[in-house]
């Protein structure tokens, strides 16, 4: 079997691993629904404000809510598998359709942020580690330390205060200028202008995390025996860093990238609500306020699935970076 065949098999296997995880999340979701005070019928009755107990019992029967819990669970899982995430009464739309309209902006924000955070984190960590104990290292380390301690939403607000309120350079909210009718490049630039602050606010914390990890990882790798070997071969320090240390040091950063995607999705709820970015996070925030828990859980489920997919992507990247991964 060739290496690429092995890799395909490995990926297929990892993808299969994702299935029980997603199933588990569906079950957690179901349990959370059960934990909720009152059920969907109470919610409906609340909407209608005029429901007799008989009518409610009838409704419960129709929705299967009088069934034993495992039957309900089974029905719930079946619905989710059929991509039926329920109905948002507030928005008067199926949850899935609602989510799909908001997925794009979140993906745009997340991928940009993740890319910037990882790349900048690697670069800054590298700069700090190669200039160990110089002013360069000190400044980067302090900035990372401070950024690592700053709440995202506060950064967002302070950016708004500075760049929008005081300087008036950047728009405070939204994804694009409504009613401007921009197209093509003009529109892209407009969106980019709207993205600057949310991306900075969201990436700062993660950039700090990646910087700190990269710096530590570089320093750890610099003490490895193979670095001594490289020196004994007559390599310059620059070559040792770029050719040997960097590749090894990046591995833990990539691994953490997978973990941080999950955290970043949470962060996007805050950042999107601060900047009125019309994505899933804002939708979740709205759902929270409207007590539209069906919608909230739908978003939660989708977010978890996104993490599973993202981790799969990280696994695939990893197979290219580390030959020690057993491809079977």
């Amino acid at each position: 079997m060739t290496k690429s065949h092995k890799r395909l098999l490995f990926i297929a296997k990892r993808a299969l691993y994702g299935i029980p995880v997603i199933l588990g999340i569906v079950i957690v979701n179901f349990l959370l629904l059960q934990l909720m005070e009152g059920d969907a019928v109470d919610a409906l009755a609340g909407e209608a404000a005029s429901a007799t107990p008989e009518y409610m019992a009838q409704l419960r029967e129709r929705f299967g809510l009088d069934q034993p819990i495992y039957v309900q669970l089974f029905a719930y899982v079946r619905n989710v598998v059929m991509l039926d995430l329920g109905y948002s009464f507030r928005h008067d739309m199926p949850v899935l359709d609602l989510i799909m309209t908001r997925l794009g902006p979140t993906m745009l924000l997340m991928t940009t942020t993740l890319f910037i955070a990882i790349v900048m984190g690697i670069v800054l960590g590298l700069l700090a580690a190669t200039g160990l104990n110089t002013w360069r290292d000190t400044i980067i380390s302090i900035l990372a330390l401070v950024s690592y301690a700053t709440p995202l939403f506060w950064v967002g607000l302070m950016l708004v205060l500075l760049f929008s309120v005081r300087l008036g350079w950047l728009p405070t909210s939204g994804m694009e200028t409504i009613g401007a009718g921009y197209t093509g490049l003009e529109r892209a630039l407009d969106i980019a202008r709207h993205m600057v602050m949310p991306v900075i606010a969201l990436s700062l914390f993660y950039m700090a995390a990646f910087t700190r990890l990269m710096r530590a990882s570089m320093l750890e790798q610099a003490n490895m025996d193979y670095v001594t070997t490289a020196r004994a071969k007559g390599l310059t320090e620059r070559r040792i860093v770029w050719g040997h240390v960097l590749r090894n040091a990046v591995l833990p950063v990539v691994t953490m990238g997978g973990v941080q995607i999950a955290n970043m999705l949470g962060g996007s709820v805050i950042i999107e609500s601060v900047f009125g970015w019309p994505g899933l996070g804002l939708l979740a925030f709205e759902a929270l306020f409207a007590r539209d828990l069906n919608l909230l859980l739908g978003i939660f489920l989708l977010a978890a699935c996104m993490v599973v997919v993202a981790n799969l992507v990280i696994d695939i990247i990893y197979t290219f970076l580390d030959p020690r991964i057993e491809l079977k």
């Binding site: 934990l35 909720m36 401070v146 690592y148 607000l157 309120v165 709820v269 909230l296 978890a304």
Partner: protein, 280 residues
Amino acid sequence: MTPSASTGFWRRYSRNRSAMLGLVILLSALVMAASAPLIFPGSPFALAGQPRTPPGPEFMLGTDTLGRDVLAGIFHGARTSLMIGVLATLVSLSIGIVVGGVAGYYGGNIDNLLMRLTEFFQTIPNFLFAIVIVAIMTPSIQSIIIAIAIVTWPAVARLVRGEFMALRNREFVQACVVVGMSDLRILAFHILPNCIAPITVIGSLMVATAILVESGLAFLGLGDPNVMSWGYLIGAGRTVLRTAWWVATFPGIAILLTVLAINLVGEGLNDALNPRLRDR
């Protein structure tokens, strides 16, 4: 810890300037929390003066839209943040140590099962999960603590498992088995004391994380409505950012300094505790 070891620890810790700075800031936060009812008696939610008074002689950090004193809010908020941070960490450590300890010591299928569970919890976007839990359980101090503990224990479990697993295979633990000690005795007297250092370090860093999560929840309106908190203050100041910048700004600085201080203390503990681990 023996007296000589603890003085050695303090000597190493106090040599670390940034760790000392962290300790000083953290102690000030604790003093703020402790003295809040004395310096600012009465409810921090109560009207204190003219709404939106800028920082000045009357109110050092100004007042918010409802005329509440921001400084009083910060003092009372310190109580909430630190209490939730510490309690959530303790709950999370308890879950993590038990799960990680059992997985690491017994290994095999128990380990496999518990680690899959841990990984599963790590896959779930944690802040989102916390939001959902608090939203469903209705916001209160308890639900916030539970939510933070549920989303943070996997990190502890993984660390403890790794430590227990390594120690399990150390020869001094095998010597205990050969001598005929019970599992409980080995776990309590020979394994756990040897991972106090990493647990202390991760615990201190988790207090910082917990404070950040709590402030985020409160900012979104998921704080306990009966207690003042920094995140709530920032959330309240958000709408008046243009007219009363101070309302959102100062509580944020309080969070930043506290979390920074805890992180510095955590790193200081790590550096001061580690030499012991190396020469064992």
